[in-house]
């Protein structure tokens, strides 16, 4: 039997429907948080790294939750497993890295001399002399770099920052992972009803985009780093593991990263062998890796998640670097891609709302 609803209740419903959206306040508060965070950039970077790590781990946590296990227990289980894995990495890879870094530290004076000698030899090649003068005169002057690296106060402050980050990041990650469903539910509670479905659409798209980008990037960088390590070891270049890690880390920055890592590897190889032949071999190796990455690894990992015009992509990276340094370069591309997608979703939402009366004409033709 059909019932007539309470008119007062319906008025309240309509009033709530037309209230000023609370998401405007949330947006303003978020803006305030971002501006404050910009002025405390270190905290923002730590939070961003924690967010990325938490995001990468969240899919594992979800898989454990599918078994009906409490989220807190799933997070604890992942932490214990990650701890055991880190011990494994510490046993297998860290000694190799320590050996390489010890070699670099011990041989620094020798490497400096070799570098200067190599640069002197390189002067014999056409145009090279002028370029080398500029490099030595600029930031890449080996003596200046080494003295800067060996500045003890700098080293201590860097070590303190690393230790600070090593404590804070796992702390932030733990709570981000454990409390995320509750945070999400609270955010959902604040969103007014007319915006719920659009907000879920935005959440869903961000989840899909960020998920495919970050997980794909992690796999892609590891693959590129491993290929570079093996290739450099086969070419007989010193410090292949360290260079592989540098290549993997630099690969995070589109376009510019692979060029930086290639230049570093070429320089190390040239200093070691003092021959243009090895530089060509290393450059060929990095070109091969880049081609493999572009045509095989990237389509299988990141796929088409980033749909930015190449020109906009480069502008984004430069703007990211200017605003937030290296982390800005790394995060600018996914951030702009996500922002672009969210804007499209909200524009579509606006169109759907304004086009409601037109759509209503067809509503009588549907069943429910």
């Amino acid at each position: 039997m059909m019932q007539e609803p309470d008119r007062e209740l319906l008025k309240e419903i309509q009033k709530a429907h037309h209230q000023m959206p609370r998401w405007v306040i949330v947006l303003l508060l978020s803006g305030l948080v971002i501006v404050t965070a910009y002025f405390t950039a270190t905290l923002l970077i730590l939070l961003l790294i924690s967010g990325i790590v938490a995001y990468l781990l969240s899919s594992i946590i979800k898989r454990i939750e599918y078994l009906g296990i409490k989220r807190a227990v799933a997070v604890a289980a992942v932490y214990v497993t990650a701890g055991l894995l880190l011990i494994g990495v510490d046993i297998l890879i860290v000694p190799c890295l320590q050996q390489e870094t010890r070699n670099i530290t011990e041989k620094l004076p020798e490497i400096t001399q070799q570098a200067e000698g190599a640069f002197r030899d390189l002067r014999d090649y056409p145009v090279a002399g002028e370029v080398i003068d500029k490099i030595i005169g600029g930031i890449a002057q080996p003596g200046h770099m080494i003295s800067k690296m060996l500045n003890m106060s700098d080293l201590f402050s860097q070590a303190a920052s690393v230790a600070f980050a090593m404590i804070l990041i796992p702390f932030f990650v733990f709570f981000l992972l454990k409390d995320w469903p509750e945070v999400r539910n609270r955010i959902m509670r604040w969103i007014p009803s007319p915006y719920v479905e659009t907000s879920i659409a935005a959440f869903s798209e961000i989840d899909i985009l960020a998920g495919s980008y970050l997980r794909g990037l992690a796999i892609e960088c590891s693959s590129v780093g491993a290929m570079a390590s093996v290739g450099l070891a086969l070419l007989g270049v010193d410090y292949p593991v360290t260079l592989g890690i540098v290549t993997a880390a630099a690969n995070v920055i589109p376009y510019i990263g692979p060029i930086i890592s290639c230049v570093i590897a070429c320089l190390i190889a040239f200093i070691q062998f003092k021959s243009i032949g090895i530089v060509i071999n290393v450059a060929l190796l990095y070109t091969g890796i880049k081609l493999l990455d572009d045509f095989l690894v990237q389509p299988l990992t990141i796929g088409r998640s980033v749909k930015l015009h190449p020109m906009l992509l480069v502008i984004t990276i430069i703007a990211g670097q200017k605003l937030f340094g290296i982390m800005g370069m790394v995060l600018a591309v996914p951030a702009v891609t996500i922002a672009q997608k969210v804007v499209v979703i909200f524009l579509e939402h606006g169109r759907n709302r304004t086009g409601r009366s037109e759509a209503l004409k067809h509503s009588h033709e549907i069943i429910v």
């Binding site: 059909m2 019932q3 007539e4 609803p5 008119r7 209740l9 319906l10 309240e12 419903i13 309509q14 709530a16 429907h17 979800k62 939750e65 599918y66 078994l67 009906g68 296990i69 409490k70 989220r71 227990v73 469903p181 999400r184 539910n185 959902m188 509670r189 969103i191 009803s193 007319p194 719920v196 479905e197 659009t198 879920i200 659409a201 959440f203 869903s204 798209e205 899909i208 759907n352 709302r353 409601r356 009366s357 759509a359 209503l360 067809h362 509503s363 549907i366 069943i367 429910v368």
Partner: protein, 157 residues
Amino acid sequence: MIKLFGWALDKEKERRVAILQKVHLFKGLRRNLLMKLLVDLVEKEYEAGELIFSEGEIGKALYIILEGSVALTKKGKEAPLVLAELQAGSYFGELALIDQMPRFATASAQEKTILLIMYKSYFDDLIKGSAAISSRVLLNLVELLSVYVRKNHDART
């Protein structure tokens, strides 16, 4: 084994999975898949009288009532008509998963209500994930549609 690790199991999730098991759309799905649905779906709490969606809005999601009750009303010539009052374990807005047409009715919470919201892309992912799941869920959906068609036919004749 279950007794040994009983402390690690989430009792609230178990209770909610039992509610999902009653949803016709997910009839025949295994418990682990229902648990996956539960973890992935968005939860939202509505106060008594709060609007969930309005008639004529483009629908993009299915709603499952975990707690509370929901009234579905339709604009009438003089006053809105109450089409249905749904209790915990019921669901509404399922056609939004197939097309993105305007909502036929207005939904509002009658009391403090907790809803699980399945956005269309989650549903698309769900049916793309496995042939067995997609055939089961789509079969359930076709069953529902056939009921709607018959009801509509009966009402017209």
